[in-house]
Amino acid sequence: MDDSTPASVQNGMDVDTPPSVTSTPAVFSLDSETFKKIHPTEYHRRFLSQGVRPDGRTLSRFRKAKITVGAITTAHGSAMARLGETTVVCGIKAEITEPKTGAPRDGFIVPNFDLPPLCSPQFKPGPPSELSQSISEYINRVLESSKLLNLSDLCIEEGRAVWVLYADIVCLNYEGNAMDAAMLALVAALKHVRLPTATFYEADNAVRVKEQRTIPLKLSRTPISVTFGVFDGQFILADPDIEEEPHLSSQLTVIIEQNGGLCGMLKPGGSALGQETLTSCLEAARTRATHILGILEGALAER
């Protein structure tokens, strides 16, 4: 439905039968679904060696991205991002707090990414998984180190009151590539934030705000996260999905701007990646970022 793959490509590839399944040395010919379940890595390998992925995409093809902003009225800014069927919602709530003594004008931004048990059977109830903690932490670092927001813009009264922006990103339907979807929803929601005019009243040491929310945040840039999967150390898969993720030998995330400036790179271990591959991933990421920015601008204009 949301798959941007042309129908011809999808139908042209007989998705139900992986290429050369019957040539298995096994005496038992398993039906495709059973084969996929029992030998998942081999199932993917057979597709990829023919230059196509089980969902019909080519190796370098990203899933369709879709952004809508403003669905959550209880938030000061909100956005829903979809990559294929991966769906995440980011709601940003602004509250008032005291600044740190060392930085009396600086407000706070607190990003958190949650993979609740609702979104996939691989996430259990209880404390957040290592994956969601790592994504939250990396996003936090990117926000800080790329100086996306000038935190002093969040000052209401120096040394007394500043805004704290809680950016909570919740995944509703997990179909792979959480990082890209989370970053996209976050950036879209930040661009959608409107804060009310706030005044600090010395008399009762309290901040009061107007009901209308009119003040947008000033973002210094628009970083886009673009993730690649590496299969068998040799196939580079753009935007890996949930079926591919467990079989990848490595992943690479590029946080990039439209002009090609970088805000982060993350390759959390796995098989080695050479300089040439890095260069080609950076190229592909830049093209993808330009495409995503177009969609983002469209979504913000529609509002």
């Binding site: 290592e130 994956l131 903690q133 790592s134 939250s136 932490e137 990396y138 936090n140 670092r141 990117v142 800080e144 180190s145 790329s146 100086k147 030998s249 490595s250 090609g260 400036g261 970088l262 805000c263 982060g264 790179m265 993350l266 390759k267 959390p268 271990g269 796995g270 098989s271 080695a272 990646l273 050479g274 300089q275 591959t277 890095l278 260069t279 950076l282």
Partner: protein
Amino acid sequence: MTQRTRPDKRHSPNEMRPFYCSSALLSRADGSVRFKSGDSAVMCSVFGPMEVKLRDEKLDKAVVEVIFKTAAGMTTTKERMYERIIRQTLEASILSGLHPRTSIRVTLQVLTDDGGILSTALNAATLALVDAGIPLRSLAASVTCMIDDTGELLLDPTAIELERSASVHTFAFDNVSEGTLANMSTGLFTVDEYMRCYETCRLAAVSVQQLFRTSSEGKVRREYG
């Protein structure tokens, strides 16, 4: 060319801090190492291959567990991210298929942090795995560098230097593959700067590999004469 002296008296931006390691400190562990790079020091102990909790058990390979603790003993999201990066980097090195249904636990305790702690921890972990005799396909060596606010590249920066960083880059390279095993870069940087950091760290990793060899040699020679 004017050479600035770095806060810790190093003369060149391309100079690593001196590093040391000492091993077999914890008698109960199967392998243990203290790795020190300048004033950043990490203690690492390795247990395994040992029995694994049934729910974590993997049919075809050993489970690698990494525990990363700060000097204060805290575990926040930052430590969990480090654990994930270190675990997945070590997984690429460990021949885990030789010990299915077992667990290999790597515990990292930061003693002091003066910058580049992720690299220090990774190097400590690699050496502790060697000490424990865990079968390894290769050895992962990690190096951190930064680009400061003037655009200068500084290898192996200290905490004071990191305060002036425009971007920070940590890489891991092994002694058999072409390319990087792990990379975490943050800040604002260009593709050119990134590639310069990649190349600088790749070269510096060779000297870390040399340390791996001499320290193993020292230990074995001592015991076997």
